[in-house]
Symmetry: C2
Subunit: 138 residues, 2 copies
């Protein structure tokens, strides 16, 4: 989803469009990989729209609660956020740190087996891969 599209949705839903909100959404849509609050803070500062960390955290909560973004957590302590789009998983390179999307998700089969074998009804899952990206293999 593009920035303009999200902004329109927000406006249609009666939410205010502030400079900071716009900058955050803009940065998130430009980023291909999940972004941390610290990264957002720095990025906004560079772009001349500096915001307080509380603001960013509150904005992340707001955007998440309204399903504009999703939250992921990898091996480190911090949460990362990315624009909601197609359901996908991540390939985290343990060497360069680059994060890419996995092209497809085959977990639904596994979920069916879990229901059949153990009676547990899966509502959502989290799957992340760690390894070496094609660039770092050479």
């Amino acid at each position: 989803m593009e920035t303009a599209e999200i902004i329109k949705k927000l406006r249609d839903n009666g939410f205010k469009i502030t400079k900071i909100r716009k900058s955050i959404i803009n940065h998130l849509t430009n980023c291909k990989s999940p972004v941390s609050v610290k990264e957002l803070l720095n990025e906004l500062k560079i772009l001349g729209t500096k915001a307080n960390k509380s603001t960013i955290y509150r904005e992340m909560k707001f955007l998440k609660d309204n399903s504009y973004i999703v939250e992921t957590q990898f091996e480190d302590r911090k949460k990362r956020f990315e624009i909601s789009s197609d359901h996908h998983h991540h390939l985290v390179c343990e060497i360069c740190g680059r994060i890419q999307k996995a092209k497809d998700c085959l977990v639904s089969k596994i979920e069916k087996r879990i229901k059949a074998n153990q009676g547990f009804l899966v509502k959502k899952h989290r799957l992340e891969f760690f390894g070496v990206c094609s660039i770092c293999q050479h």
Copy 2:
């Protein structure tokens, strides 16, 4: 792996066996689900072997670095630890909080596809399921 077995391994590798270390290992082997540091602190206190939180954190690091335990993180902020055994995933009930093991892991197929399609070499993955356990479905 049982407590005695782990203790033996530790001793064979020249590590010291202290009261706290033994208690921690004992509790971890008795627990079927991943345990947090706070839980361990409480448990040890109840069992009369109270330890400082730094000690527990250091012990978790030690046991993890030596592959006696593995670390997992769910939706909350804290890490949880469990004895290394067969590779498995977790079924986290969003209602009662109970955590059970998924009976099998079918991710290797997915990993092969990732290598074929995207060239990314997966070294490890993390997969957790959230939903409703069979008990809470009624």
